[in-house]
Amino acid sequence: MIATGDPSVPTDDPLLRVEDLRVSFSTEDGAVKALDGISYELERGRTLGIVGESGSGKTVAALSVLGLTRADGALLSGRISFAGRDLLTLSEGELRAIRGNQIAMVFQDPLSSLHPQYRVGAQIVEAIRAHQSLTKAKARAHAIELLGLVDIPDPARRVDAYPHELSGGQRQRVMIAMALANDPELLIADEPTTALDVTVQAQILALLARLQRERAMALVLVTHDLGVVAEMADDIAVMYAGEIVEQAPAERIFTAPEHPYTWGLLRSIPTLDGPREQELTPIPGSPSSPLAPPSGCRFHPRCPYAQPEHARTEPALLPVPGQPDHRVACLLAPEERRRLWRELA
């Protein structure tokens, strides 16, 4: 275990606590607010699913934890405390010591995320040696071990393969092996299955679940697909237009969702038990432009239940009455929301 953080910080503090994180990028068309004040917590060994459409800010939320938006000239404010240290105040060098070491990341497209000109073994060895002083031979042995751990057949041979010589699923396994190289406490997986075939998706998710269990890692699973997080997440945060609109334990999201946007997401998942000719219900409209987000409730232009005043009042993320773990940012009255969901479900 690597000792980190301030000894004065109590040990029951969550591993990751994000408070009022705001990220904006300056572009030629003006400032883009990618994240507009999101907060969440993650305990050791737990899984948080961050769900949202493209452009909702979910990837920026993931990248910002690692400081990877810094290179793109992002402006960040708020707090990201990891094991008691505020990552936003760390220097690039201090953050680098954490990246790939205590916090690792798996990306969406494993083909473009692996360097095409290096053997996968060399790329894993590089990750190991970035944080551990091992000889090349020992690091290579460890790389082979990691490839075996992620169920790559014949790892001693595959360690010398180039990314293009592997299948999509195997490439993602390599990415996961690389992320595990330094035994991270937190793994962030950004759409880890989106670029893969459906059958492979399930295998990769099962692998992530197994590894998380075995290594007691905390996992942030970023996805546009509620189906992906259904099995794995302990808690779910639903993001829309740079904000968290609903946050709750996973089973609450699926059984008693409170936000009309979450309803839309749930109703656009195909089910096996429904009648075959039943059409999926898409959410009308398209995600709002991050350059000019709508006033008031950001979801109001697409919300079938929006009232005129919702275009003026901004909803706060508040606990649902009687459910301190379940928070929602919706201007509809709680009874009204329950009635609407009963009608839909």
């Binding site: 290179a71 473009s112 995320s113 000109q117």
Partner: protein
């Protein structure tokens, strides 16, 4: 791979034959001066000219002449004899090659050493003042004709006519084996002048290529591993961005080995380019034919080397 290279080499040889046929025909069709008359001098009698035509083999049909030339080339490596001086073209070329090699290799080292770092830094500090300034200067050097730059350089720095007399001027070239120090100093100005335009092009190509590469997903992965930024740029970014540089590099060196005509002429360096230039002014066809073939050979070889290098640089490239 081996089969691919062999096939490329065979195609290269065929191409060389085509190039020589083309130059051969072109120079016979074009209204150049009669070589025998040039050789015989202004007041030669028709009989002398007719004898010279027989001596030079010009009385034979064109196809026979070409056949004899090809036979000499492939069986004995002969390139014929100069119409003007009667010297063997092969030995003329071999005498001139060291100067051209010296000029090309030196300039190459300079333009790579200057162009690539500037391109990399410009890409990393995109839109900074340094980037804009260096790209502006690069544009200037790309647009400036070599001979003009050469004359300016001589005017400013040549030991004989310069304003600040620091470097040996035109016509000071000495062979490397004769006097290494003089060889070196005499080539400083030509190297810089020749390298300027190339350094500018390479800086711009490197910049563009690296900017594109640095936005790739695998760069983000490299950063996520916690690698130092220097390693991210050099091992991950530049490694992938260097491929287009390799292509133009091999071709540029191939072209230059065929003779940097303008720079060799301005600085009066006895290289292939200078040989070619003199041959053209004298309508000395065998020399022109020889230098054209040599240039074609270098370019073809460079092309094959580029393809082989590609397979080594990028494991995704496979030839069959």
């Amino acid at each position: 791979m081996t089969r691919y290279v062999l096939r490329r080499i065979l195609w290269g040889i065929l191409l060389l034959i085509l190039v020589s046929a083309l130059t051969f025909v072109l120079f016979r069709i074009l209204p150049t001066a009669e070589p025998a008359r040039l050789r015989a001098g202004q007041n030669a009698s028709p009989r002398v000219i007719a004898e010279l035509r027989v001596d030079l083999g010009l009385n034979k049909p064109l196809i026979t002449q070409f056949w004899l030339y090809m036979k000499g080339l492939f069986l004995h490596g002969e390139l014929g004899y100069s119409y003007h001086s009667g010297a063997s073209v092969r030995s003329l070329i071999f005498n001139r090659l060291p100067a051209t090699l010296s000029l090309t290799i030196g300039a190459m080292v300079i333009w790579m050493a200057i162009g690539l770092p500037i391109g990399i830094l410009s890409a990393l500090r995109r839109r900074s003042r340094a980037d804009r300034a260096s790209m502006g200067v690069a544009l200037l050097f790309i647009s400036a004709p070599e001979y003009w730059l050469g004359l300016i350089a001589l005017y400013l720095f040549a030991a004989d006519i310069g304003q600040i007399r620091v470097f040996p001027g035109a016509g000071s070239y000495v062979g490397l084996t004769e006097d290494p120090w003089k060889w070196f100093t005499s080539l400083i100005l030509p190297w810089l002048v020749l390298a300027a335009g190339f350094a500018a092009v390479y800086a711009r190509v490197m910049r563009g290529s690296l900017i594109e590469t640095m936005s790739e997903d695998y760069i983000r992965t490299a950063r996520a591993k916690g690698l130092p930024e220097r390693r991210v740029v050099l091992r991950h970014g530049v490694r992938a961005a260097i491929t287009p540089i390799m292509t133009i590099f091999a071709l540029d060196v191939g072209v230059l080995l065929g003779g940097a005509v303008l720079v060799e002429t301005v600085f009066d360096i006895p290289g292939i380019g200078r040989l070619n230039y003199d041959a053209i002014t004298h309508a000395d066809f065998p020399i022109i034919q020889g230098t054209v073939l040599l240039a074609a050979l270098f370019i073809i070889v460079a092309n094959i080397l580029v393809d082989i290098a590609y397979a080594y640089l990028d494991p995704r490239v496979r030839y069959s």
